[in-house]
Symmetry: C2
Subunit: 325 residues, 2 copies
């Protein structure tokens, strides 16, 4: 374990879950690292992968923006999406990462350079630098190809035989080093099959998670996703993660207790329902982790973002854990 | 005239001519400003204008890169062109300027922010911030619409009735201020009808050029462009500029005397021929201004770039003028 005065926190995920955690934690004096899934193939990211042969920039971009200390303008620029023509749908940050990958010849170098441009506080590390595709074989033998197809599937909760990355990728060696040297590792919140598990499918990641002396915390999602994790309770999430890791490694499980407004739950109902807790052990930490939604942003947001974690509250609870390491 | 110890040099043009001048001058302790034509509508720039409704970024991008003190990597990034798919042909720098224009709501603000990202030494100012289209009526009454069409025309040397911007644009007030306060104004090298004259067609620019106390130097092109300036000698270039400005304002005329290699001239022959000098007055400055072309870059370059000015030699001659102001 790293005994230096500045604690090392490693966040594992992808997508908006990572964003919320990193945005909160960057305000604290930490040695902060985001390990990012490379399975994304939807939207702008999917088009860039297909047309340019680059590695998926979308999740990395979100982490960079979360960790950025540059101006609000630069952060808006990174998330700006072109609206029309051949550029339509691409976020500028994705184009930056893809162009940097082409110019430098390396995705990792691209992430590093983009980090400099954005004055990030921390590190962003792709879990692998190989081109991989996420695949899932359902119990009905149907094969889902790609994260996007898995994300959109409505029948995963009917059970699946296996989920894997193709080809089976070697881990980025920096990832193992970061896990080894961490004081705290945060897994979640985020899409179980699309953001969390894809990290665990990379060679060596689970062994490193088992062998590190770091404390591990799992942040439980607020909402289930219909057709994917329908009816999941805390124990189901843990069980799924343990199925891949090979051992229950979690020292802490962070659970929100603040109920969202009834009208939001109703509004969200077609997307999914609240995650209920069914565990009762010493690892559970209950706290108000709920993000506020004001009337103004309500109209701008996708339904799935209406009920979300509050980055400040989440960071505060994680810092309580860090302070006791 | 500005009597401060740091001299103010204003470069007027567009395209690669500006690039060569600025790249050379940025090494000197000067107050440097590039005034850039807003008539470009070809290639990536044309697509962005049509699809996104932005102002033309291409010439501005070249000036920003020329003035940049950032890493070689950042400069390569700005000029990187995507090769495939919906992004194919777009240079990254153009996308940066267009996204910044969308996010800030102002092209000038976009140029300013891009200048910060690139650590530019100097200022880049669009001659107007109105959307304009360059138009030309030929002697045969044919109307050429847009800079690209004019640039590609092979019959301009048969004479034209008029060239104008539509709608007739108001000048960017900062341009008038820069011209008023300049110690030296450099016009050219560059496409006569496509890069230089479009600046003179903006309301108030010619009056400002006539009224300023600044010295004015014209840098004569090395090569004529077939179908556009075929057979032009120094006097023809000056006459064309004076036709728009309304007076012969030039204090100095800078002319290259170093002949390019015969094989390059032959290779270039279908594009155009060397500009000959037919003037003989005290304003002429003769110097070796020719850029070297090595075997390696020869294959990468367009023919029209094979015979070009050397930015260092050009800057040195211009500094000789500045030092005597």
């Amino acid at each position: 374990m790293n005994r230096a005065s500045v604690k090392k926190v490693v966040v594992i995920g992808g997508g908006t879950g990572n964003f919320v955690i990193l945005k909160g934690l960057k305000r604290y004096p930490l040695d902060l690292t985001a390990i990012v899934s490379m399975a994304d193939d939807g939207g702008s990211t999917g088009i860039l992968r297909d047309e340019l042969g680059v590695l998926p920039p979308g999740d990395v971009r979100q982490c960079l923006v979360a960790l950025s200390n540059s101006s609000r303008l630069m952060r808006s620029l990174m998330n700006y999406r072109f609206e029309n023509g051949g550029l339509g749908g691409h976020s500028f940050g994705n184009l930056l990462l893809s162009a940097l990958e082409k110019v430098t010849g390396s995705f990792e170098k691209a992430v590093e350079e983009a980090g400099k441009i954005l004055y990030i506080n921390g590190k962003v590390i792709p879990v692998t630098t190989h081109q991989v595709r996420l695949k899932m074989v359902l119990n009905n033998r149907k094969i889902l190809e790609g994260e996007k197809e898995i994300y959109l599937s409505q029948e995963i909760d009917q059970g699946y035989k296996t989920i894997y990355l193709e080809p089976f990728p070697k881990v980025n060696p920096r990832v193992i080093e970061e896990i080894q040297n961490a004081d705290l590792i945060v897994i979640g919140p985020g899409g179980l099959h699309t953001s969390l598990i894809p990290n665990l499918l990379v060679e060596g990641v689970c062994e490193a998670l088992i062998n590190t002396d770091a404390k591990k915390v799992y942040v439980v999602n607020l909402m289930n996703r219909r057709g994917q994790t329908t009816g999941f309770k805390t124990s189901h999430y843990i069980k799924e993660l343990v199925r891949f890791i090979g051992r229950d490694i979690f020292d802490h499980i962070l659970i929100n207790v603040q109920k969202p407004a009834e009208e939001l739950i109703e509004f969200y109902a077609e997307e999914g329902e609240l995650v209920e807790n069914d565990l009762d052990d010493e690892r559970l930490i209950f706290a108000d982790l709920l993000g506020r939604v004001n009337q103004e942003t309500r109209h701008d947001l996708l339904k799935r973002n209406l009920i979300r974690h509050d980055s400040k509250k989440l960071a505060q609870e994680l810092m309580n854990i860090v302070d006791h390491i």
